[in-house]
Each structure stands twice: as C-alpha cells, then as structure tokens.
Symmetry: C2
Subunit: 252 residues, 2 copies
C-alpha cells in the first residue's frame, strides 16, 4: 500500500531522498540542508532541494536565488544552480519561487501536505543523485505525509547541544518513526565556538547531539561548530562550504 | 467592536499586556519572555506568563515547573512561582500543565486561537501588574486572534542580528499591525559574544535589531549578548537574570 502511494511522485527511483528535520526552529536545519547540498554538489553530484518549509522558507535567500518557476508540459522546472568545477548542481523548488496566483491557490488549499505533494509530483526533477527535503520545524502532518508519499526517504534530525532542542527533537524522531520513516542520523549544529585564542565556548550547552542520538538509537553524523562564516554565508546567499572546508557534513 | 470582543477576558483592566513575538523560531523569544518576567518579578511585581506556544511550549521547562493546573469555580489556577525578596511572583499557564483529557479537548478543537482564548477567559489571573504572552513563532491566526481578544496588548518583537531573522520578523510586525496591535519595540537577542579576552564575536551577524527597528518604525529596546548563562539557565529551569545582573530587558 505504501508503494502504491509512492508511485506517482516524479522522483527518480535511484535518487537518494534525505528529509532534514528538527524539533525546534532556529537550530540551523535550513543552513545544514543548504550546506550539505553544496558539499555534495562540490563533488560533482546533482542534488535537488525541495523546500517544504512552506511558511518559513529560507532556502532561496541562503542560495541567493530569487526567480519564478517555469513550467513545461505541466511540470514545474526547478531553479538550477551550478556548483564547483566538477559539473555539480543544486536544483531548488520553494514556495518563494511561485507566482502570485500559484501561491494563492496554495493558500486556499492551506494544507502543507498538499504543497509538498505538489512539489513531489508536479516538478520535473530529472535524475538526481540526492533529493534533500527541508522540512518545516516541529512534528506532525508533514512528517506523516512525507512518509506516505516517499516512504524510502531517510530522516536526518538537526539539533543544538542544548537540552531544550534535544527534548523537542526526540519528539520529532518519535513521530517520524510512527509514520515508518527511518531516522538515519543526528546532526548537532551550533556546537562550541572557538575564539581566536583557541578557547572553546559551549554557548548553547553541550552533549545534546550525542544524548539525542543515544535516546533515539541513531548515529551522531556530525558536530558543526558555531561559526560566524555560516551565518554570514546564509545572509549573503552563498553557503559557507563553498568558501572553505569548514563543515564536515559532507562526510555523511 | 474591539472593546466588546475584549470584554470577556479574565485579565484585569489595569494589567499591562505584552505579547512577545518573533518571526523565526529559535531567536530566543521564550528565553526573553521568561527572563523579562523574572526581572520584573525581582522588583516585587506580579507577572503572569500566558504560554501561547501551544505546540512548541518551552516556558515550563525554563522555569522548572511541571504540575497540573487546578481549577476553582470553573477557572484554571496558574502555577505560581515566588521570585526574589520583594514579594514578586510569576504566574504561569501553559499547554504543558494540562491534564490528559483537557489536552485531548484542545487537540480536537485544534485551533490555536481557541486555546489562547481559553487561557485568557478561563484562568483566574487576579490583579497582575504585567501579563506576558509567549506567542508562537511566525505570523498569522494567533496574532490576529490576540488583537481581537486583547486589543490593548503591546507587541515586542524578538530577533537576532542576522538578516535572516530580521526579514521574517518584519513580516510578523506587518501582520500584527494589520490586526491593529501596536508594536512597542524590538529586542535583539544573541548579539555578539564576548570571550574571556574581551574580544567581541558577532556570531550571527550584526545590526539586525536596529535595521528591523528602523524598518518598522519602533524603538530598539535592548541588545542581549550571546551568553552561555542564558542557555544554561533555560536548560536548568532557572532564568539567568535570577543569577546575576546580565540582561538589560529589565530596562523596558
Ligand atoms: N553553525 C552555525 N554557526 C553560526 N550560525 C549558524 C550556524 N548554523 C546556522 N546558523 C545561523 O543561525 C540562524 C538559524 O539558522 P536556520 O538554518 O535558519 O535555522 P532553522 O532552519 O532551523 O530555523 C541563521 O541566522 C543561520 O545563519
Ligand atoms: N542570549 C542568549 N545567549 C545564549 N543562548 C541563548 C540566548 N537566548 C536564547 N538562548 C538559547 O537559544 C535556544 C533558543 O531559545 P528559545 O528561547 O527557545 O527560542 P524561541 O522561543 O525563539 O524558539 C535555547 O537553547 C536558549 O537557551
């Protein structure tokens, strides 16, 4: 039955789907999505980003993209961003790229799931190596909906070291599993900040990533430090990984 | 008409109502709400917190509170937390304090506005000096609902220095004004971090607070630095302002 539900998406069967989720907002979920996509594209891969954060979309600004989506033969064409010297590319679909009338139709539907379904079924994604789905923060309908529409998607949960973020993220992992989505791992973002003198400051606490990983029985994939370059890159529309070898999520 | 709608709340006419809002999650809205309440209570004031963040409530954990709400004569009784040596107190109502059946009723209603209305009308708040409303992040129904139910409430918008947060916060301010809520000011949180050597690091960028304040024509009330004590206090259930004179929002 799950297979039957998954059949109509336009996502190629060989595309690896990763849902990037979080419990709380502001833990860096969109930053991780965008930098992970950029790191993969730097290796020459074709990476799609489905921005499912319909109300709070940040992916367009973080990639410096701002244009309307074209349509061909009833399918939306993602905005394409070539990356690096090895033929890699990031293809993006986001609420931020819809024209006024399409947006109005969405709002009238007012169902996040319908928007995500629309982005899965009516976009010409082509043969991607990876499709990263930037999930809305929190738990609920969208997680469940995604599990039905793309049951082979793996979920990666982003948290900060704080107990606050870890607690809410554990709920998100729980909800995902009830919908039969596999939680592939945890990424701890905004780990300690290292000042110019080499002193490390755990500004948001410590250990939240490992505690969450242990609690939900999934591997801790990476610990990304608090790095002014990440925030600056996000605001400038140029992901930090493109500027230098900071972030390790490429190791995923 | 607005007066007529506001009539049934149980909030005393002399209570100053402040709605603490944000565009994005994770900018520290709940941390600011809790520390502002604690700072006011330290002066001997009676401060209510209405935790309107129905899905992502953090106020209970940040104050170390975990109990069921009692009811008397059909009104819910807030959980009361005495603060400091001058007779101050924080009274809290949150989704986190409801019993299983009440929660189920709420979920069936599934309307944030109904929950907020319930907390405004059916709680015995008494004669508070201040009522702080911890709003859900983002824009929309709850902001509009609050404007109808408590039209004299002033909104304070919390942002970080990042362009990302500022952009989304401006939308929240816009929505609030369309609902005739006055935006009393902006608080910039997570401003630069100062290391032990006195070097200042603007980890999330700089200027977002002032730019937002200028953009929406409201005063910048405070700039709160990134401070490990704030995150640690939030996780420990003991607001940072109670430990020392860090935060300036008491100046509001
Ligand atoms: N490792 C990091 N170091 C410094 N700033 C970061 C880091 N990760 C994210 N940020 C910044 O934190 C803010 C929130 O990140 P964002 O990706 O928008 O979070 P979310 O998608 O979870 O709401 C943004 O201003 C972003 O640039
Ligand atoms: N000034 C600050 N310095 C350091 N950490 C902070 C500061 N303000 C908030 N935090 C931490 O940042 C995280 C997000 O704060 P929170 O108040 O939950 O945000 P929101 O209510 O906007 O989602 C929490 O772990 C909190 O303890």
């Amino acid at each position: 039955k799950a297979r039957e539900a998954a059949a109509p998406t336009a996502v190629h069967p060989s595309t690896r789907a990763l849902a990037i989720a979080s419990g709380k907002g502001g833990v860096g979920k969109s930053s991780v999505t965008v930098n992970l996509a950029a790191a993969l594209a730097l290796r020459g891969l074709q990476v799609g980003i489905l921005d499912a954060d319909i109300w709070g979309f940040s992916v367009p600004r973080m990639l410096g993209l701002d244009a309307r989506l074209e349509a061909k033969a009833g399918k939306m064409i993602p905005l394409r961003l070539p990356v690096g010297p090895h033929g890699g590319r990031i293809d993006v679909v986001s609420m931020g790229f819809l024209s006024g009338e399409d947006e109005a139709v969405m709002w009238r539907g007012l169902m996040l799931n319908r928007a995500v379904q629309h982005f899965l079924e009516d976009v010409d994604w082509g043969e991607l190596d990876y499709l990263l789905i930037d999930m809305p923060p929190g738990t609920g309908d969208v997680q469940m909906g995604l599990a039905r529409m793309l049951p082979r998607a793996d979920m990666i949960i982003v948290t900060t070291p704080a107990l606050a973020a870890q607690k809410v993220a554990a709920r998100a992992a729980d909800m995902a599993r009830r919908g039969y989505l596999r939680v592939a791992g945890v990424i701890e973002n905004m780990s300690a900040f290292e000042c110019d003198h080499g002193v490390s400051y755990p500004l948001f606490g410590s250990g939240g990533g490992q505690r969450l990983a242990d609690e939900i029985g999934a591997p801790l994939l990476a610990r990304i430090p608090l790095d002014p370059a990440v925030a600056a890159g996000g605001d400038a529309g140029r992901p930090a990984v493109l500027a230098g070898p900071h972030d390790s999520p490429a190791g995923t």
